[in-house]
Subunit: 379 residues, 2 copies
């Protein structure tokens, strides 16, 4: 099938890429960060806020939406875009990761996973056909295959079996999406490369999945507890064996410096709950590292979180006010910090894209990370 | 001093009035509902949302803001308007009501009230000079006098003593606001008429406070537990003895039908936590009465909360989606229902103003209440 991805420019001294993903709901300029909208909402913000801060594509969670309100209901109401009032692209995960992290009493067999809902204990089966049917109900622009994510650390034979099972599931997902007309209608399905810390297994997994000619590829099984250098090593051990003309996505990552480092390794798409989750606890991002606005030092601080950053929160409110809202547990505090934190990530992606285009991504991203980490260390 | 209020039109068959209040931060068309912003934020909504739904004036709570973050800090940061990013008019209460309803171990003396903060147990004294100083720090457009609100039911002699004390405090507040230049700078101070269920005491209180020539008057001590007919009777027993050329305000009221009934009794200003508080529990308003979106019957309801009502929530989202957010305890649910509920109240006020202008307020408000109550009874 034709690749939905156009590689516009490759950085001369890193593996960073500037690209463009075509979806049924519009174009996505990469590298890009995807705000996480687990339960049919990016927590605490409206779709209008998301547009204003430059969100291009958001993530929805199959596991959660399938349990509540149910994917058939969302389909009957016109799909996830109409349901949640977001007309831009949506990527959905397969639910597999949440089955392994949230659900109780799960049982993995060759045909799929049986588990109990963390909401009401109901027994649910998810196989390749089921996860594709759910994501079709949701109307995902980019659907992810079901995969088995081995834990960290992990024995080599356990990892090899998970890879083999994941490869068969990936093939079954692709077949289901082909038969149902999902792919032909312009939806994309991305495969997921596992392999834990075993470089040769990662290479094998990448090459065998590449042979199936998916529209895009995720590097999975990273950020599951391993230290950052190990995580970066795994991404570096996988990316070169993925097709250069397909988009690459690391799931669930990361801090701002981590995201820049992954871009330098050739990753195009990111999602992470970090900026939204910590916002609700008063933590917020600056170019000099994160700050916790609940600290006493911000009590009378008249400055915006980041001087000159063009989002509603920074244009309008002082750190002192945002601190007050957070200390008083006012919902608006979570909303305003979420707007800023997401915009901080999205603006960082826009800067990264501009520097890849300008050809100076390598020195720029090193300097950016240097300032961020120096500021963090001073605190 | 010159009245800040212009009476534009009086309804021919009720006591309803169409007026305009002039403040340092702009005009307010009455009758009007004031969204409640207790802790320096109307809960769950941004100032941009408030403007979009037609909010003209909001309420801030002196008791809460004085405890946290403190009125001196807000003054040093430019006043409450700058602090919270709202450049429209703000009315602040005196904090007296919260001292009586929230604080612990309070002791009322002739010079004021000593109480313990509900946040940290600190001992605090509030007298007339203190509440005026706090509201001056906040930069209130309309400040309220300190008063003593007798409980319901209440003995006549207890009520008479509370009225006498409230009258002295009102005089002291007016003197303080005059001396400090607060009034001369265009801020207003409203007196509060108590009197519980004793019509003659209410009349005496209204007349003695009217003699002090305040810029406006509140009818206090209503909605403190008494049944609705008694509450309406108290408002009816007070309003006629207030100056016709001054705005009238009932504090902390009420349901949509109650607000219309008070308008018919000649009240101009309202505030109530009802629309904001219930929004966070899934309760929302329609012309056919309130509905709780958490009910199963709204699971697949494609309709907006109110067909054709021009606010972001009704323009964009189905009842089914709003139900999902509320059931899943998503913050966005509280935000979207707050936007609708406040707009419902503000739109009702706009309708009331238009019907007073058109001269048909009496039949219109009876029909509106009839439909609302019939719909409520059918549920």
């Amino acid at each position: 099938m034709p690749a939905p991805f156009t590689l516009l420019r490759s950085d001369p001294s890193t593996a960073a890429r500037r690209g463009r993903l075509t979806t049924r709901h519009g174009l996505v300029d990469t590298p890009i960060f995807m705000p996480v909208g687990t339960q049919g909402t990016v927590k605490a913000v409206t779709p209008v806020h998301l547009r204003e801060i430059g969100a291009q594509i958001i993530l929805g969670n199959t596991y959660h939406l399938n349990l509540r309100p149910g994917s058939e209901l969302i389909r009957d109401l016109g799909g996830l875009h109409a349901f949640m009032g977001w007309d831009g692209p949506i990527l959905t995960d397969s639910g597999g990761f949440q089955v392994f992290s949230l659900a109780k009493l799960r049982q993995v067999r060759d045909d799929g996973v049986t588990f109990q809902s963390h909401l009401d204990g109901a027994t649910i089966f998810l196989g390749p056909r089921e996860v594709m049917a759910i994501q079709q109900n949701l109307g995902s622009d980019v659907a992810m295959v079901l995969d088995e994510c081995p834990p960290w650390p992990c024995e080599r034979d356990v990892c090899a079996r998970a890879i083999e099972r994941s490869r068969r599931w990936a093939g079954a997902c692709l077949a289901a999406a082909t038969e149902s007309g999902f792919l032909a209608a312009g939806h994309h399905v991305f495969a997921i490369v596992q392999g834990s810390t075993f470089d040769d297994l990662r290479r094998e997994a990448a090459e065998s999945l590449a042979a199936l000619d998916f529209p895009g590829y995720a590097i999975g099984g990273v950020s599951v507890g391993e230290p950052e250098p190990e995580m970066l090593r795994q991404v570096a051990a996988t990316a070169p064996f993925l097709p250069a003309d397909k988009p690459r996505y690391t799931m669930g990552l990361g801090t701002p410096p981590q995201v820049l480092k992954m871009i330098a390794l050739g990753v195009d798409l990111f999602d992470c709950v970090l900026p939204t989750r910590v916002a609700r606890n008063g933590l917020t991002f600056t170019p000099d590292g994160p700050i916790n606005l609940r600290n006493e030092q911000f009590r009378a601080d008249r400055r915006p979180i980041v001087e000159g950053l063009d989002n509603y929160t920074c244009r309008t409110f002082s750190r002192a006010y945002l601190r007050h809202l957070s200390v008083a547990n006012e919902m608006l505090g979570g909303t305003l910090l979420t707007i800023h934190n997401l915009h901080f990530y999205l603006d960082l992606m826009a800067q990264a894209r501009a520097h890849i285009e300008a050809g100076d991504f390598a020195p720029w991203h090193r300097a950016w990370i240097g300032r961020y980490e120096a500021g963090t260390a001073r605190r």
